[in-house]
Subunit: 477 residues, 2 copies
Amino acid sequence: MSIPKVKNTPWLAFSIDRSSKKPVFEQICEALRHSIVSGSLAEGATLPPTRVLATELGVSRSTTVTAYEQLVAEGYLQSRRGSGFQVCAVGEADLAVEPEAGGLQQDEELVKPPLPFEAGQPDMRLFPHRQWAKAVARVCRVSPQSMLMGGPAAGNFELRKAVAAHVAEWRGIEASPHQIIITAGSTDALDLCLRVLTQRGDGIGLEDPGYGPLRHFARFHGLEPSFLEIDEQGARLPEADVELRTVILTPSHQFPLGGAMSPSRRQEFISWARAAGAWVIEDDYDSEFRYAGRPIPAMAGFDRLHRVIYAGSFSKIFSNSLRLGYVIVPEPLLEQFRAVMARSGLRASYMPQQALAEFMHSGEFYRHLRRVRRTYGERRKFLLDRLTRDFSGAGWFRDHQAGMQTVLHLHSSLSDKDIARRAAALGVAVQPLSNASAGGGHNGLVLGYCAFSEEEMAPALDILQRCLEEAASAAGS
Amino acid sequence: MSIPKVKNTPWLAFSIDRSSKKPVFEQICEALRHSIVSGSLAEGATLPPTRVLATELGVSRSTTVTAYEQLVAEGYLQSRRGSGFQVCAVGEADLAVEPEAGGLQQDEELVKPPLPFEAGQPDMRLFPHRQWAKAVARVCRVSPQSMLMGGPAAGNFELRKAVAAHVAEWRGIEASPHQIIITAGSTDALDLCLRVLTQRGDGIGLEDPGYGPLRHFARFHGLEPSFLEIDEQGARLPEADVELRTVILTPSHQFPLGGAMSPSRRQEFISWARAAGAWVIEDDYDSEFRYAGRPIPAMAGFDRLHRVIYAGSFSKIFSNSLRLGYVIVPEPLLEQFRAVMARSGLRASYMPQQALAEFMHSGEFYRHLRRVRRTYGERRKFLLDRLTRDFSGAGWFRDHQAGMQTVLHLHSSLSDKDIARRAAALGVAVQPLSNASAGGGHNGLVLGYCAFSEEEMAPALDILQRCLEEAASAAGS
C-alpha cells in the first residue's frame, strides 16, 4: 500500500508532506505562520475550528489543537473563549527575504601554527598531552561532579591550594588559598583588579614600552594612562604631580625589554603606594622562565601582599587555550574583590580546575615546566648566538637570561616598522618595538623564540638578515 | 655519625640549616637579601669572594657562585670584573613587617546549594555527570590535543557545527558554523557584541523590567540606557526622538515577566532597526525550556540574521560552571567581530569544547535536555498549583508555560522588598521584582523553580505564605 507523497489541502492553501521528518503539527504551524505573515490570513480572521481543520488535513484533532496553541504562545493567534482562534496583527510582510546564497565560506579561519618570531607563544608541541589527558580522565572517573558543580566563585579550592604552593616555591609569595582567585586568564585577572580598584576617570600608571593591549584595555575601563619610562632599574616612579591610584608593573621581567626591576626601585614603588594609598598590580606573566639561577622573587612576595596585588597566568607554562589565570589579593581587599565577583559572576571555567590541581600536585606540571625551560633555554641560546654572530651590524641586545622573547635594538638608521613589514611579506613575524611604546623613542624588533625549533628559526633568521641588509642599503642609497 | 643541626657562620651573621629542605644556595640568598634589606650589609659593601664564603660556610664554591649570581639577577648585588660582588642601593629597610597572624579564615566560602527560589539556576543534581565524564574521557583518549591546542579564536569547529544544528532545530535559525562564535558564557557574548557595535556615549535600549546586571554592564561600557517598557506584546519600541544604535531584547521569554514578544512587535523592531541602521541583540537565555508545544522560534530566525544578533548560552541547559555561550553574527558584521576578537584574544576555554560537541552529536545532550524539561515542568506545575491554591490573596501570576521562574505580582498593599527581606531571614530567597526595574511600578516576587524538588519547595512555600500573612497584617494594623 502506498501513501500519496503530497496531499493538497486547498482550503487553507497548504500541504502536509507526510514523507517529511518534520512533525505534522510543525508543518501546520509553519504554513499558518507563512499565511499570516504574507497577509493571506488577515488580522482578525477566524481560523477553522480545530476539529474541522483536523478533518480537512486528515490528522488527529490533538495535532491541530497543539498547532493552534503553539501559535497562540507565539502571538500569531489569539483564543477567545467561545469564538475560536483569530489572527493577531503581525505588521508588514517583508520577512519573506530569501536566504543569501552564502554556501562555502572563503574566509575559513584555518588553524595556523605561530610564525617565527611571534612573542609570548609557548610551544604546545612539547606539551605532555597524554599525561594531561590521563589527569583529566582520572577526574572523569573519580569525581566527575567536580567538573561542573559550581564551587566557590573564586575557584576550585584544590587548585587554589596548588597555586599557593606554586607561588610560595617559585615566586616567594606567602599567601593563603583564600587570597587566591582563579580567573579566565591574565587579562581577566587584570579586568577584575581594575573593576575593584579603579573608577572611570582615574589615572593609571603603565610601563612604556609595555604590553600594547594594556593601553586599550585601560582606556576601555575609562582610565587615563600615565606612562612610566623604563631605565636601568626598571619602570620609573610617577611624577610627583600625577595622581595615580594604581600602576601595573612587570617587575620580574619587564615586557618587552626584559630585565628585572631593582630591589631599590621596588622599594620605592612600595613606599610610594603606601604614601599615596595606591596599589601596585604586578603582572607576572612569564617569570617561571628563567634560564640561569632561580626565578626572581615576585614584588608581591617582597611586599608581603601589603600594597601589591599579584596577577599570574597558566597561559605561558600550560596553554593559552585553557583560559586560566589567578589573582592574589591582599587581605584588606578581599571583601571588595568578592563583592565585584558576586556582581560579575563566575569568571573561569570549572572544568579544567580539578585536573590542573592534580597535575600540579602530582609533579607532572613541574616536570613539564622544567622540560620546556630547558628547551626554551637552548632555543634562546641559539637565537642569541645568531644575533651576536650575524646581526651586530644592525643593532644590539641585552641578555636577561629570562622570558620568552628578546629585543634586538636597531640602529637609528633602520626603522623597526619597515623591517617588520619586509619580514612579514616573507612569512617572518617580528614585532616592532615602537608599537609597544606610547611615548616613542624605541626602535627594535621583539623576537619570541619559545615556540620555534632551531630548524624553524634558522631560515627565518636568514630572511630577517636579508631584510636588514636590504633596508640598510635602501637607507644608505 | 651525626650532623650538627645548625652551624653558625658568624662572619656574615647567618646560619645554614642543613636539616632544612630548602637548598643551601637558597638559604644563602635569603640571608644575604635580609642583610642587605635590613642595612647590615650597606650599599657599596664588597662581599667576600665566592671561594672564601664557600670555605666559611663549608659548602662548595659552585653553591656560593650560584647564590651570588642569583642576587645579581635580582638586583641586590652587582658584579664588577676584577673587584668581586658589591651591594646595590636597596632603599628604605621597612620591609621586615611580620606576616599577619592570619591563620584560619573565618569567611571560608562554603559551597552552598542554591536556596529556594533562586532564579536562573538549573538543578545540577539532575545532570548526567557520568555520561559527560565518559564524553570527556573519550576526548582524552582519542584527541587529547583538541583540549589545549589553540584552534580558531571563534571556537572549536565541531562545537560550532553542533550549535548550528541546535539552533536550526530548536530556535529556527539557519546559520553557518562560520557565523557562530563560542564565548565564555552569555555575559561574555554580550560584552563582545557591545564592543563591536557600540561606542562610549551611545544610547542602548534595555527592557524594563529586565535583567538587573545588564544595566550595570551597559553603564560599564559607557552606554546610556533607554528603558523600554513591557506591554502585552513585549518590549515597546524606543521613542521616536531617542537615538539608539542597539537594543537588547529577550523576545522568546521576557526576563523576568515571562511571555513571548508578539510577531508584530518583533516585526516592528526589525523594521525600526532597518530604518535606524540599528542592531537588535537577542538575549535568548533560557528558551529551550518550554513546557507546552515547541520552543518559540528566535527573533534571529524570524529576521534571518539581518538586523538581529543572537546570544545563546549553555549555562542553563548544561552548567554555569562550564562558562560557554555563543553569538550568532549576521554575515556583514563578521569581519568586525573577528577584528575585535583578534584584539581581545581567546574568550572561552577550549578544553570542554570538543567533548561538548560530541555530547551534542551523540544525543546525550538532548536526552538530558528533555529529561530536565520534564522535571522542571513538573516543578513548575507544583509551584503554580500552590500559588493558585494558597497565594491568590496576595497577588496574581500569569502562566507562560516556559522558562525557569515565574512572577507572583503582589497587591499594592504589600511591598516586594519587605517580603523578600522577611523570607531571606528565614532562608527563603525570593527576588523583588522592583529590583529588576529601573523605572519602578513593578511589585512582585520572582520565583525560580528549576533547582528545587517539590519536597524542597513545599516548606519554603509555607514560610513564604507566613511572610505574606505577617506582612499583610502588619500593613493592616
